[in-house]
Symmetry: C2
DNA sequence: GCTGAAATCACACATTA
DNA sequence: TAATGTGTGATTTCAGC
């Protein structure tokens, strides 16, 4: 499937929605200087193409109670392709895990998890990294302060193809 | 300011919106088994309280062109409170930087940046980490595969206060 | 939680490049 | 031919009760 060519209007739409998707289609059309039906069509196409993957509400977790983020570097013991896949599938099922990246060089994965406190992390780590086989090494940092959080870099910084 | 007490309905609303905020208020009301006006009021309160921080569209960056994520551990040279703040403010201004966490133990910060390719990362790193003073050490991993990405862990996993 | 007015959405159609 | 702009009905939002 050929990646459909995005024009400047598409990029402007993406640029607006990636920072604020709470606005109405009418408001969107005003911001990108296009008509409402045009915006509606563009957004639908972008969504069907999977370029707009999904639309979510970001929640300020700290306001719901104590929050501890753990950033974990994981190295596997055996490193065949199926071992990577297996770890990935396994770890992604865990609700507390919010992000998982396959990386190189260094460790095999970087995992970010969100838990209430250190006790909860200990329980999580015990469950994910100890009982699960095929873990060679785990290195954990903790963070209670997230200075910046974006799902994507601004699209206008990217090329149009 | 006292954190307002969230009841079960609030948590159900947050639970839905944090995975899919593209739905209408009417659809939301159906999913959480409440009336539409009630949902509308709750969502407004949650938004004004900052519990719903914002609503965004997540874009599949890979569909817009080649994408390379860099996960960077940064250690500062001087580590006074104002040095931390200065680095944070400086790095957050960079559009390519999508996430920045202050961590412990280990490095002082974990930074995630999104660039088209290695050349762009090199340019970014040169700009952010070399010319900027007060950097002791930088350790970078690259990732082209993000197995999981959520802004938050599911709210239903958290306590109601 | 329900009802009604106002706004918005979403579609079919005519139009233009 | 394909995409944009105009007009209409249905739906939704959001106020007061």
């Amino acid at each position: 499937m050929a990646s459909l060519t995005l024009d400047d209007l598409d990029l402007r739409i993406l640029g607006v929605l990636q920072t604020d998707a709470s606005i109405s289609n009418l408001e969107l059309s005003r911001r990108v200087h296009a008509s409402a039906p045009t915006c509606l069509r563009r957004v639908r196409v972008l969504r069907e193409a999977g370029i707009i993957a999904r639309q979510i509400a970001i929640i300020d977790a700290a306001k719901l109670g104590p929050t501890l983020r753990a950033i974990v570097e994981v190295s596997l013991d055996r490193q065949a392709a199926e071992d990577y896949d297996a770890f990935e599938a396994y770890i992604c099922e865990e609700p507390a895990v919010t992000q998982c990246y396959r990386v190189s060089p260094g460790p095999d994965f970087v995992v970010i998890a969100e838990v209430p406190d250190m006790a909860a992390y200990d329980e999580l780590a015990r469950r994910l990294f100890k009982s699960a086989a095929n873990i060679r090494n785990v290195r954990t940092f903790f963070s209670t302060r997230c200075a910046k959080f974006e799902a994507n870099a601004p699209v206008h910084a990217k090329a149009s193809r």
